[in-house]
């Protein structure tokens, strides 16, 4: 068994969780003090490296406070955005419905047109004038009777 601080005790001291006895020992034992100061120095070098690195990166993206104002205006535009989105959705729903209704009306019109056209065609395809049609009918009936008598 040694009188020096264990690895765990040194880590605890670095983490700020050492006991007063451990801290006292670290202050009086040259070997433990050296170990702790080496670790602290390494951690400090790490800290400085990260700081310099971050500074170099930050210099390429220096904040422009305008982003807060821009975002603020974007934030205020939020409800308007929602209203526009809702209007777009309503339009998207209503346009197909309107189109369907139009199609149905057009189909009804075209069937009416077709019926009318048929009537006109039938009228034009007559061989005799309409007042004579009953006589023509009578004649054709009489002719039929004669054929039957034979």
């Amino acid at each position: 068994m040694t009188n020096h601080l264990s690895s765990e005790q040194i880590s605890r001291l670095l983490a700020g969780d050492g006991t007063s006895a451990e801290e006292q020992h670290a202050g009086s034992c040259a070997e433990c003090e050296l170990e702790l100061s080496r670790l602290r120095e390494t951690l400090l070098a790490f800290s400085h490296s990260v700081q310099h690195w971050a500074e170099a990166q930050a210099s390429t993206c220096i904040p422009d406070n305008e982003f807060l104002r821009n975002r603020s205006s974007t934030w205020r535009m939020g409800p308007l955005r929602w209203a526009l989105a809702a209007a777009a959705v309503i339009i998207l729903i209503l346009v197909p419905l309107y189109k369907n209704a139009g199609n149905r009306l057009r189909e009804a019109d075209s069937s009416e047109d077709a019926a009318l056209l048929e009537q006109v065609n039938a009228h034009l395809s007559r061989t005799v004038a309409s007042p004579i049609e009953p006589f023509m009918q009578l004649l054709s009936d009489t002719a039929g009777d004669k054929v039957g008598d034979r």
């Binding site: 690895s7 765990e8 040194i10 880590s11 605890r12 670095l14 983490a15 700020g16 969780d17 670790l39 120095e41 390494t42 951690l43 070098a45 790490f46 800290s47 400085h48 490296s49 990260v50 700081q51 310099h52 690195w53 971050a54 500074e55 170099a56 990166q57 930050a58 390429t60 993206c61 904040p63 406070n65 982003f67 807060l68 975002r71 603020s72 934030w75």
Partner: protein
């Protein structure tokens, strides 16, 4: 006095944290470097760090009226940043990129920024290797251990400040910090 330096005092008691919030433009200028540094060291991606830092100040700006000054402005901002970094880690869409990033961490990048102090080339090489080892070790720490480690040793925050920023108890901060230090020391020892 440079308030952006991690080891130096941030003048919160001079004006008081609530007063500080009244000039938000100035507050951004003062605290941006610190918040950006913590976020960058946590996510290791400049673009993501910039976006998250901007989000941090945006959230602070929106909730500035609810800030009562119970903690310093720095602790309050770091608290927001810690939450953003945690959410960034949770974001499923970014997991792929996170994996790619963690598997290709350029440990040399950080040691390139070692302060150019009066050191012999051998000493400089030695410190450089150790810094690279710490940087590599922090990748394998748990999220909480990494956060606590960076806040303590890069941002130079006190344990109680870390507890306030992370929402942990002081005891829990000590435990996470102890484990983080143990992992880092193990990595450093492996160099010898």
């Amino acid at each position: 006095m440079d308030p952006t330096a991690a080891s130096e005092f941030i003048p919160t008691t001079v004006e008081g944290p609530v007063v500080e919030l009244q000039d938000f433009d100035r507050l951004v200028q003062i605290y941006w470097p610190r918040v950006f540094r913590f976020v960058l060291a946590s996510v290791r991606d400049t673009d993501a760090a910039q976006t998250l830092t901007q989000d941090c100040f945006w959230r602070a700006y929106r909730s500035r009226n609810r800030f009562r000054g119970d903690s310093s402005v720095n602790t309050w901002l770091i608290q927001i940043a810690v939450n953003l970094v945690r959410d960034y880690g949770r974001n499923r869409r970014l997991r792929f990129w996170k994996r790619t990033l963690s598997s290709s961490v350029d440990t040399r990048a950080i040691s390139d920024w070692l302060p150019d102090r009066d050191m012999s080339p051998e000493k400089k090489m030695f410190v450089r290797e150790q810094v690279e080892a710490i940087w590599a070790a922090t990748v394998n720490l748990s999220k909480r251990q990494r956060t606590v480690f960076l806040l303590r040793f890069v941002e130079d925050m006190e344990l109680l400040e870390i507890a306030a920023a992370t929402g942990l108890t002081e005891g829990a901060v000590k435990v996470h910090l102890f484990r983080a230090v143990q992992s880092v020391r193990k990595r450093i020892r492996s160099l010898k």
